[in-house]
């Protein structure tokens, strides 16, 4: 019982971050029809920024760690937002709805940004100081308090985005554009503006995920790569552009990683995930919750 609980807790905690990351990717695809290979770079930048600025803050002001964390988090989000605006207007805006063109652009950015991060931040892994101490036990599964809190924030952020997309005017416009751009434009939705918002929100999700993972892992300039390939699998399984699909897919992949990683071997867990994708494809080429492509 304790073991299963532990694996379930692992799954929830890993899944929450995967979902956030994949949601951003799927949102950008839905609105812009762009698969952004550089998505992970926003994630990495946010984590790196926090890891770099937080020690400075703590040294200078001596606030409690979690205060510093939130200040630095905000700073990281701001940095990512600036990078996002630049990338959008200099690059992605020209390749809207151009799958191949935007793919090449984003791959170039992936290499470029990783190189630049390595140059600026060096390759040495960095860590964020502990925010909260202590640990809790859930149904016999052990978890750091810090992880529990972060998992909670991640779930809240996911819920927030879900509400944003379902309830607000902007969200409805995003969904309308994702489903049928022409019809949306006929209804007076300004596509370029909406796609910009979609890109910024999607990239922001990656940055939030990065900021949340920062206290939990060692941060290096190649941190985002592992998440990126998993996010691809998640959005294929969930259906490209589908928000509920990304949520479902994220937890599914987290479950495979948690359970197959335990019962088999973590390298086999990765292979198992890819196999899962292939099987899915045979049964439902459009993903779990995706619409049939026409």
């Amino acid at each position: 019982m304790g073991l299963i609980a532990q694996l379930l807790v692992n799954m929830l905690q890993i899944g929450a971050v995967y979902v956030l990351f994949a949601l951003g990717l799927t949102l950008v695809f839905g609105v812009m029809k762009v698969i952004n290979f550089a998505h992970g770079q926003f994630f990495t930048l946010a984590a790196l920024m926090i890891a770099v600025t937080m020690p400075e803050f703590t040294e200078r002001f001596g606030f409690p760690a979690w205060v510093d964390y939130f200040v630095c988090f905000a700073l990281a989000l701001l940095t990512v937002a600036i990078l996002g605006v630049v990338l959008y207007f200099v690059g992605f805006e020209r390749y809207l709805r151009d799958l191949i063109g935007s793919f090449i652009l984003s791959v170039g950015l992936l290499l470029l940004l990783e190189g630049v991060y390595l140059w600026i931040f060096t390759g040495a892994p960095r860590v964020v100081p502990k925010l909260l101490t202590g640990q809790v036990s859930i149904l016999g599964g052990a978890l750091e308090t810090q992880r529990l809190v972060i998992c909670g924030i991640a779930l809240a952020a996911t819920f927030g985005l879900y509400q944003l997309v379902n309830r607000t005017k902007l969200g409805r416009a995003l969904r309308a554009v994702a489903e049928d751009r022409e019809a949306a434009m006929l209804q007076g939705i300004r596509y370029r503006r909406i796609s910009f918002y979609g890109f910024m929100i999607g990239s922001g999700m990656a940055a939030i995920a990065g900021g949340l993972i920062a206290p939990l892992t060692a941060i290096s300039p190649s941190l985002g790569n592992d998440y990126l390939s998993k996010a691809f699998i998640i959005i294929i399984i969930g259906g490209l552009g589908s928000i509920p699909g990304a949520i479902l897919g994220g937890f599914l992949i987290a479950a495979v990683e948690s359970f197959a990683g335990y019962f088999l071997d973590s390298s086999y867990a990765t292979i198992a995930m890819f196999m899962l994708v292939m099987v899915f494809l045979l049964v439902r080429p459009q993903g779990i919750l995706g619409h049939a492509e026409r």
Partner: protein, 397 residues
């Protein structure tokens, strides 16, 4: 055949050169990953190589065949895979005509370089651990730091003495060439000392989420965990998760190269971890050269020096000693004399040996440094001089 012709031509031209001038430059290569996840090692080795070259040049260069050579150390990106390694090998050997590689890091690319360097008669110092890279079939390849074959025996003996209660061990390694070789040797050495190995597990390099792995390890309830070949940051994560899950036992990282990242990541959870391949080059046991390099590395790279990076220094020093002894910059002649000489490395007087293990004396005999993490600091608890080196030094007139 052609390279030999070219080489002969070059030698002829050198011989024909009227006067020995101090302007001759001997280029040497550092061959390492300079980008991606393992970039830290490569950037460090690059820096150390440059320092070693500077040191030699300051002392007047390398003298051979009536000439004085200034040294230039150039770093080549090997991408940590064999295709990039093969490309860099071409650039080193055929484009830039370099005949001495003072440090090679990464098993797959080192093998790619070796298949060319041995054929073309270039000398390579490297740190890949496998037995397959050494032996009489590869007389131009040398290893410039300790490998599991040197480390594990003395290290495990020491730990067994300190923790007689330990009966079971669980192993975790990255699923790559290095990891597999480390695991094999570790398993052998543990069994030889009567340990019961309860789990052998693998993970992919680049993994960022270690909870599932830690859960699996914790469930084995082993008395000792050995994360041998895992990079320090990764093992820090695993020990941290293990602590959360309530595991308590002896912590080992038999092939561990550095504590700094492990402490940063693992915090209290990595207290008392044993490491076989780490060193505190800023500590009291370090030599003055090592201390100086360590300080410089902290400034330039923001990271303390580790043993693999230091290999670039010792590699170049060995090459210098070999060239001067052979009185020639022909790598084959240098390779012949290397096993016979005693030279000054950053650890002090050193020689090459390892005939028994590898069938060819191509392993640099440097002290085995056993360290343990105490209060977040790497503390050297033993510096074991290899028996073979002691014999060699005793024989020296």
């Amino acid at each position: 055949m052609k390279p030999i012709v070219k080489w002969a031509a070059a030698a002829l031209m050198l011989a024909a050169a009227p006067a020995a001038s101090a302007d001759e430059v001997l280029k040497v290569a550092v061959f390492a990953p300079l980008s991606g996840a393992a970039a830290g090692w490569g950037l460090g080795a690059k820096w150390v190589g440059e320092q070693a070259a500077k040191e030699i040049n300051d002392q007047g260069g390398i003298k051979a065949g009536g000439k004085v050579y200034k040294v230039e150390s150039i770093a080549y990106e090997n991408g940590y895979n064999s295709a990039e390694g093969a490309k860099a090998a071409q650039a080193i050997l055929n484009r830039d005509g370099i005949r001495f590689i003072i440090q090679g890091i990464g098993t797959a690319p080192v093998k790619a370089l070796q298949s060319l360097s041995e054929r073309q008669g270039a000398l390579m110092m490297q740190v890949a651990w496998g037995k397959s890279v050494k032996g009489p079939q590869a007389p131009l390849t040398f290893t410039n730091s300790n490998t599991p074959f040197e480390l594990f025996g003395p290290l495990f003996d020491l730990v067994k003495k300190q923790h007689p209660e330990v009966k079971t061990v669980a192993l975790l390694n990255p699923n790559d060439a290095t990891g597999h070789e480390v695991e094999e040797e570790a398993e052998k050495q543990y069994r030889a000392r009567g340990y019961d190995i309860v789990a052998v597990t693998w993970y992919e390099r680049g993994t960022t989420e270690f909870q599932p792995i830690a859960t699996k390890l914790a469930q084995t309830h082993a008395d000792m965990m050995d994360l041998s070949g895992a990079p320090p940051g990764d093992s820090g994560m695993v020990y941290k998760e293990l602590a959360v899950q309530g595991w308590k036992g002896v912590k080992m990282q038999a092939a561990g190269t550095g504590a700094d990242a492990m402490v940063k990541v693992g915090g209290d959870a990595v207290e008392d971890v044993y490491m076989g391949n780490a060193a505190d080059f800023g500590g009291p046991a370090a030599t003055p050269i090592q201390r100086k390099l360590n300080e410089g590395a902290l400034k330039a790279l923001n990271e303390p020096l580790n043993i693999l990076q230091l290999g670039a220094w010792d590699g170049l020093m060995a090459v210098k000693a070999g060239i001067e002894k052979a009185d020639s910059i022909d790598p084959k002649k240098v390779a012949k004399v290397l096993p016979t000489i005693i030279f000054e490395s950053s650890y002090g007087p050193t020689a090459f040996g390892g005939m028994e293990t590898y069938g060819y004396p191509q392993q640099m005999l440097v002290p085995i440094i056993v360290t343990q993490i105490k209060h977040g600091q790497t503390v050297e608890i033993a510096r074991i001089i290899p028996a073979e080196l002691e014999q060699r030094l005793a024989k020296k007139p």
